[in-house]
Amino acid sequence: MFKNLTVGRALVYAALLLMAIYYLLPLYVMLTTSFKSLDDIRAGNMLSLPQAWQGGAWVKAWAEACTGVECNGMQGFFWNSIKMTLPAVAISTILGAVNGYVVSMWRFRGSDALFTMLLVGCFIPFQVVLLPMAQVLGMLGIANTTTGLVLVHVVYGTAFTTLFFRNFYITVPDELVKAARIDGAGFWTIFLRILLPISGPIFVVCIIWQFTQIWNDFLFGVVFASGEAQPITVALNNLVNTSTGVKEYNVDMAAAIIAALPTLFVYMVAGRYFVRGLTAGAVKG
């Protein structure tokens, strides 16, 4: 490995190492702090390892910490986020796939205009849709519910997922669809039997993107869901800001890691497909 180590190369490695440390250091501090006792935190250096490893902060963060008036920890809100994220990711991805298929393969009068409108959807800032969205949710009677949040994320996310799938399907030769039509396949058969089986890479990209967007969202969560229905990001904020005497950094850190865990997990499982999927054409040769 060190056989070809030139000065230039050594510099590159050094720079990379520095970057890695820069990005990993906060994670390290969070992890070690979450396992320290409060005394340990006050006494020691931020970078030191815990004198005694303690899981108490984790238990408290999960089940007992106060997030406002309630003192049930993060657990309920973790499930809120799961209940919000999974359906929202699934629905927006499926809608995006079908939209992308229609826009790229079944040109109709105004299909380009439709796609442009969807594309504009990607550039609308969150803040712009807040008030109209609140009105719609109120009219539908799903304000302050997880269902309402799912709807918001599906509406907002479909613009992105459509773009992803459209850009993927545009690389599939039209002749494939023509051949299938001549073979007698209809709209859904072509989608399900010919395009879906080659869509793996773009599904991975879309799911990772949507999952992290929706799981990490704070603004929609804080505006459209409060109290019982709030997602974990909002709960984390409340937990950190609810001060009853001393600041429990260990609990805060544990709670933050709990909130970040699912996205970390998704990246670790599917991260390497992400880059591959972003650069993959649909059909090779």
Binding site: R109, P173, E175, K178, A179, R193, V283, G285
Partner: protein, 369 residues
């Protein structure tokens, strides 16, 4: 099998481009029709219209005597082979071939039998369990043909099926397609921009340009009697020579005046005198194919006009040597016997077989004689 007739078909795309401007073509059951023309002339568009993949703007298309304008592709009883082959990437060869049959709810036993029969015929049995990504271009091409054959349609449509193959394979597949046609006696519409494919495969050729059929006829007829300068230049390789020349009457003979460094001669034309007489004194384009200007040994006929010409370049091709001379300041290609061709810089006696020469109007480019 079925006859095909295309009557006055127009196609204007939504963005306003007129792609087809009144196409009229009719072929009989079992005939091999070639649509040939330069890229962008509307060949694929016309083929898509026949397939029903896109609507025609006006006109009629009939397959087997039945008007199919409003039928969807799957109800037209056609099969198509695409330039990119369009094999379903996630399916094996077997699944690719059986897909259309499955959708048409053919019994499984019959599907299996058909797949095996087609695979054997195209010698792709050993590939049946491969996916398209694991095959060479030539193999994919065969599978694409297999998929079309399995359906046993009344008309086969081919859109430049060989253009992605290398030269050697292209010639081989050309012969195989011809054999297949002779064996199955199927009606075929075949799009190509390659005039050699057009000449070798077709029973009938439609030469297209700018959405208009320039000429429709048998390959030999189109070669010998091109309707206009475009057709004459497009069909034949090396291309026909087009020499600007003046029509001149000497006594009862009417001919064209041809000059080179050594001097001028008048080549008398044996064509219809009353027609020729109208153009005396006028500038025309004298069209003559390379094999009609040759050495005395190859010409093998007495009484043809001869001219001594100064040779610019020679190109030996093996069976014959192309000799390039300059006539009326135009580069002219002559096909001569290799042993008879002289060297560049020398002069050579060239025999002009004017019986098949043609004349075009220099302005309209229409055939006049």
């Amino acid at each position: 099998m079925a006859a095909l007739s295309i009557n006055n078909v127009y196609k204007t795309y939504a963005n306003g481009t007129d792609v087809l401007k009144g196409i009229d073509i009719a072929i009989e059951d079992g005939q091999f029709l070639i649509l040939v023309g330069p890229s962008g002339c509307g060949k694929s568009t016309l083929l898509n219209m026949i397939a029903g993949l896109d609507d025609i703007t006006s006109g009629d298309i009939e397959i087997g005597g039945k008007r199919v304008n409003d039928l969807s592709p799957k109800d037209r009883d056609i099969a198509m082979v695409f330039q990119s082959y369009a094999l379903y990437p996630s399916m094996t060869v077997r699944q690719n071939i059986s897909f259309g049959l499955e959708i048409r709810k053919v019994a499984q036993a019959e599907i299996d039998a058909t797949v095996n029969r087609v695979a054997e015929m195209l010698q792709i049995t050993h590939l049946l369990d491969r996916k398209p990504g694991q095959m060479s271009g030539g193999q994919r091409q065969r599978v694409a043909m297999g998929r079309a054959l399995a359906r046993n349609p009344s008309i086969f449509l081919f859109d430049e099926p060989l253009s992605n193959l290398d030269a050697k394979l292209r010639v081989e597949m050309r012969t195989e397609i011809k054999l297949m046609h002779q064996r199955l006696k199927s009606t075929i519409v075949y799009v190509t921009h390659d005039q050699i494919e057009a000449m070798t495969l077709g029973d009938k050729i439609a030469v297209m340009k700018d959405g208009i059929v320039q000429q429709f006829g048998s390959p030999q007829d189109i070669y010998d009697n091109p309707a206009n300068l475009f057709v004459a230049s497009f069909i034949g390789s090396p291309s026909m020579n087009f020499i600007p020349a003046t029509v001149i009457q000497t006594g009862s003979d009417i001919g064209v005046k041809i000059c080179d460094d050594n001097g001028c001669v008048v080549l008398p034309l044996p064509h219809d005198k009353t027609k020729l007489a109208q153009f005396v004194g006028q500038e025309v384009i004298f069209g003559i194919r390379p094999e009609q200007i040759t050495d005395a040994r190859t010409a093998h006929r007495e009484g043809l006009p001869v001219m001594s010409c100064h040779i610019d370049v020679i190109e030996p091709t093996g069976p014959d040597t192309l000799v390039f001379v300059s006539l009326n300041n135009t580069k002219v290609c002559c096909r001569t016997h290799p042993t008879e061709a002289k060297r560049p810089g020398q002069s050579m006696e060239l025999v002009f077989d004017v019986s098949k020469a043609v004349l075009f109007d220099p302005k309209t480019e229409a055939r006049i004689v």
